[in-house]
Amino acid sequence: MSEKMILIPVRTTEQGTALNKGKLQEAYMLETSMVDVNTDDMERLGLQEGDKVRLSNEVGEVIVTCRGKKPDDLPQGLLAIPYGPPTTHLMDSETYGSGMPVSKHMEVVIEKVIV
């Protein structure tokens, strides 16, 4: 089952501290490959904590790990991913004369990866 949602890259404390350990270190790569999903959305999509999910759009796709967030913390239909390399695969390079690619509010399709 797949669904279209809005992806927003965000800052997390873990991402910030792992950054200082080094971007090629496990802690950073682990934190930046997590995606926060509303637990109601998870239930509807048949997702469990720690499941691998594919995020895709017309630019590309990336596989990340699902991390549940309480419905009060993260609205339905919204996905939050710590800033890091995975989001570059989904980011369009068109900046519409601003220099800034659309990095927040990217429309992506989320689906469970069957291992």
Binding site: T88, M91, S93
Partner: protein
């Protein structure tokens, strides 16, 4: 830990844009590392404790260790031979290093851009178009009784903004700290910043512009239709309440972040916010500040502006600086196959630029200056390992409110600083470009003469 330690008072943390200058560092001089960082936040503590001297070559070309001089020569040759080279990064480098980088861009007649363009670049554009009712963090600490955080999450990005400047800290006219302030958070998510907020407004994602525009109308006493709730997800009564609070406070401040700049609205969002704050000054004192970081990204804007007239996305192809976001900014420059060489200073664009831009980085000669290995340094042809700015080197960094702070290094590094490397590259690029510059100048004066004759 050895007993050979030293304490450094009033040291500066350069991790985020708060640039806190009240650190008390304990340095193990034998192990060349900081063992304790009193007053630091969680991000600052990791910034200080994780920076150790790594065993890397000072310079490498194509993966092979070379001398500093060989790497400087190769870098200068690459930048000089290229037709449309770009320098990018600069946010984790001192003002002194940034100045050298601008000089290189000028000599090589290329482009220079900082991480601002993918951070608060849209803020800089709105600043030029609308203006900014500005302030310092000291004023916020001492005077602000209404503090709004819009599309930012200081608890996880600038933790001490709350405790040192804007929320819990006591000020001259805010004697009871948090009790004397009303704190508003505007964010669709319930982030780690939510607990400090008296009011948490949760608009639908990407409806900031509409919400700000409705607030502008309410501030001016215009009627707003209740259907605004359908658009923004925020009830009209909530907006009316916020508009009244903003008009009636003694000193209001809005800190804003990537929630406004990185979405589709970009500089329309930030321009609308600046306009709203300008409107509010009809009623009370209101100011606005981007919550900025990393480190010295504010300094990059300052240095580029005082040296070229523009804050980012500057090009010297014609022998004088031109500013054009969308053309001379790094993402556009790389993704459209424009750049044929790049020098990345203290930044890691390969890990956060769009795929098309990263693909171009793999096709062209890349020079990387960084304290650590990164995705960018891994794909670079020439790699310099640098000392850590602020930890190993003197210099200056700008706080997010445009206040320059003098850095106090903690221990020495065997690696050269960004300033030393860039200065050496600058000198060599200058030598290699003397002929080109003089030809260019005489060509321009010929054009001038031709124009003069034509007009006579």
């Amino acid at each position: 830990m050895s007993e050979n330690t030293r304490t450094i008072k009033n040291a500066v943390c350069t991790f985020c844009g708060c640039v806190c200058d009240d650190m008390e560092l304990t340095v193990d001089l034998d192990e060349h590392r900081i063992t304790k960082a009193k007053n630091a936040c969680i991000l600052g503590r990791s910034w200080f404790s994780e920076h150790v001297i790594e065993d890397r070559p000072i310079a490498a070309i194509g993966g092979k260790e070379v001398s500093f001089e060989e790497a400087v020569e190769e870098s200068a040759q690459i930048l000089t031979k290229a037709k449309f080279p770009i320098i990018y990064g600069l946010s984790e480098a001192s003002v002194e290093a940034q100045r050298e980088a601008v000089a290189i861009a000028d000599y090589m007649r290329g482009s220079i851009d900082s991480t601002s363009s993918v951070c608060h670049g849209p803020t800089g554009m709105a600043f030029q178009g609308v203006g900014e009712s500005t302030t310092t963090l000291g004023e916020v600490k001492n005077r602000a009784d209404l503090v709004i955080f819009w599309g930012c999450n200081p608890a996880e990005a600038h933790p001490r903004l709350f405790t040192r400047y804007a929320v819990t800290t006591k000020g001259m006219f805010i004697p009871r700290g948090k009790k004397d302030r009303t704190v508003v958070l505007v964010d669709p998510r319930k982030t780690a910043s939510a607990p400090v907020a008296n009011i948490h407004i949760r608009p639908k994602p990407a409806t900031d512009f509409e919400m700000i525009w409705a607030l502008r109308a309410l501030i001016k006493g215009k009627k707003v239709n209740a259907s605004i709730e359908k658009v923004t997800g925020v009830p009209l009564e909530t907006l009316q309440d916020l508009a009244e609070r903003m008009k009636n406070c003694n000193f209001g401040v809005v800190f804003f972040g990537m929630g406004l700049t990185m979405g589709r609205g970009r500089y329309f969002n930030t321009g609308a916010l600046f306009s709203m704050v300008t409107d509010l000054n009809e009623y009370t004192h209101f100011v606005v500040k981007p919550a900025r970081g990393h480190g010295n990204v504010t300094g990059a804007d300052q240095v580029l502006t005082w040296q070229t007239g523009y804050p980012f996305g500057v090009n010297f192809n014609l022998g004088y600086p031109r500013f054009n976001p969308g053309e001379f900014t790094a993402v556009d420059n790389l993704a459209r196959d424009g750049a044929d060489a790049a020098m990345f200073i203290a930044s890691d664009p390969a890990s956060n630029f769009p795929k098309a831009a990263v693909e171009q980085m793999k096709r062209i000669p890349v020079i990387s200056l960084d304290t650590r290995r990164s995705v960018t340094s891994e794909l670079a042809y020439v790699v310099f390992s640098t000392s850590a700015w602020g930890l190993n080197e003197h210099g200056t960094a700008y706080r997010m409110d445009d206040i320059p702070i003098t850095l106090r290094p903690a221990f020495e590094s065997p690696y050269p600083s960004d300033v030393v490397i860039l200065s050496a590259i600058k000198n060599r690029v200058f030598e290699l470009n003397i002929d080109k510059r003089s030809i260019g100048m005489s060509a321009r004066s010929d054009i001038g003469k031709a124009t003069l004759h034509a007009s006579m």
